[in-house]
Symmetry: C2
Subunit: 412 residues, 2 copies
Amino acid sequence: MAEEKWVMMVTAQTPTNIAVIKYWGKRDEVRILPINDSISVTLDPDHLCTLTTVAVSPSFDRDRMWLNGKEISLSGSRYQNCLREIRSRGDDVEDKEKGIKIEKKDWEKLHLHIASHNNFPTAAGLASSAAGFACLVFALAKLMNVNEDPSQLSAIARQGSGSACRSLFGGFVKWNMGNKEDGSDSVAVQLVDDKHWDDLVIIIAVVSSREKETSSTSGMRESVETSLLLQHRAKEVVPERIVQMEEAIKNRDFTSFTKLTCADSNQFHAVCMDTSPPIFYMNDTSHRIISLVEKWNRSASTPEIAYTFDAGPNAVLIARNRKVAVELLQGLLYCFPPKPDTDMKSYVLGDASIVKEAGLEGELPQGIKDKIGRQDQKGEVSYFICSRPGRGPVVLQDQTKALLHPQTGLPK
Amino acid sequence: MAEEKWVMMVTAQTPTNIAVIKYWGKRDEVRILPINDSISVTLDPDHLCTLTTVAVSPSFDRDRMWLNGKEISLSGSRYQNCLREIRSRGDDVEDKEKGIKIEKKDWEKLHLHIASHNNFPTAAGLASSAAGFACLVFALAKLMNVNEDPSQLSAIARQGSGSACRSLFGGFVKWNMGNKEDGSDSVAVQLVDDKHWDDLVIIIAVVSSREKETSSTSGMRESVETSLLLQHRAKEVVPERIVQMEEAIKNRDFTSFTKLTCADSNQFHAVCMDTSPPIFYMNDTSHRIISLVEKWNRSASTPEIAYTFDAGPNAVLIARNRKVAVELLQGLLYCFPPKPDTDMKSYVLGDASIVKEAGLEGELPQGIKDKIGRQDQKGEVSYFICSRPGRGPVVLQDQTKALLHPQTGLPK
């Protein structure tokens, strides 16, 4: 085998996810085991996803990785843990056509090339590491013929980035914190698939920020060490919310869903503020978006929009249905118009049909203006992304999508 | 007595106070009984205080009050409760010179005129109601010859505005939450007077805000009703902090004092954020001031500045000593310079000697620039007030300071 010059590749696409019941705090920093369960919605990979090509060849002399075109080091323990775990599960692979035969035991010796790319701007605080580690593990599992179900794979992805475990499924996903010391029961499970509640529309406001943010890894470590509210949240508040949220999702009960989603986002940020020194992920623009949504929901007979914020100022808004989403987008653009030099196509990304439907050239209906209030916030939002709940990871059969060259195994 | 035309007056000055262990949440909305103890520092009344003149005359046909020159209604239950309680404690008063004789029972029938004025801009979110109700109760007690100690008076002022009870004393003050249903043991006591720790210098940054804020009364009601963290804070966190804070104050232990003050301010704002809908009192400027102080304290061998924020964006900064305060003011003015059309005299109020010492015309020393970072925040701070821990309420003997006319009993 060692003399051959073949390259074998798999390209996979994996979605990102946004938690509606938040993960904040580890009980084990190495294995990445959380102090509470969490629940997320998977975002449509057409709008936000990671594409990863993994390749193996006897000609590779070491493991290498390129992220968004730039080579990065794999020496960090998070990458090493994922690679070790997935290698140990590799099975026999045979491609008679190409004359490739890899035996189970070979995976420990064969080197890998990995190229990964996000279809959304990096550093936008949109959980790129979640999609990234999920995609890495999923693609390698396919390459190595790993015979494990997505939940078992999620426990590997978890060791790269906690929330990555939830990106192994579409729809709504629960990460069970588990009890075992080795973390083998700290896995993600699908609650419902992306068809179950497909009325929902998700609009993300990527908020401009001049502050450097605390990484979620160090932020949650500091919260565990210093917040006197965190353990109360994890032990007394979240368990009940998880039950209620599962029920709300099962019943497509948007009122309960909104109440729980907003309250849990706010409580996560409350715990961040209770950390010493305090962590502020939301800024005045985030606050303004919350006020807009709260006002909107009060003026409606039942809640129409849920909001949630991760470790950054970006708002993730979940609209009850498409009609609400179209109105919401109109309202957001009224309240947070693009700068004069920005065209609408680069200001509203993702599902273009919503933009079209929102009829952004026309005057905003008075009813929506009343729901929202004043307009003077140019430049506070960098751009919006329209999306929806989406499917889990898939292997891309179209070889032209691969990020590595089929002969050299180097980035295209 | 009823035919006479005399007017009898008392003018008093009462300080405002700022909590270092916060009061947030009532267990009884009518009696204003809190869910936890709190501790405050009284601010020097030379810089922040209320001046109140109370007058009684048989010629007055009803109770009337003027606040900052404008007549306001006394019909609210908070005023009514204070007036009823203090009247019921009035005693015999005799002024032989003027031929005035009031018997204990007369206080129920005699009407009052009250004029009150703050020596700082209203609506700056600087606890004007605390100083106001304390001054009202204190002045009336003097007028009516009420034979009660300041703690007993504090229980009356408390029924006007909870934190008012802490303005009956100078120095550091503790408000015991009490256990009795009638609130008679929910009183303030002095921990130490204003001479005990007179190194401290207090600098207040009045932060510009374009948001309308939630009143503390409705805010704390909403927190009690909806926050799942509030009770844990009140029952499990604050009691221990109260003990530690008393110890820190007693020992003038600035390191512990800073740690507790900052953590408790942040936790109070965390509870506000955990409220539904969430309450944001701090804004980006508040966050920036916190970052500045945290950075400053990290660069010093021991903490030099404590920060605390009440129900608004204003920062109250407590400097370890005058040397630190002078440097801090230099740093703050470097980071938050006045707008071009603002002169320094209207930008830094209060203790002018600190401004002078800070030598604001010169270039800021590099050491302070390094502690602080960049400078680009013009207009974010409306003005600063330099102050220090101060004394409790006093009666002003100088009749020219009275806010009511000695003959008519009407505002001058």
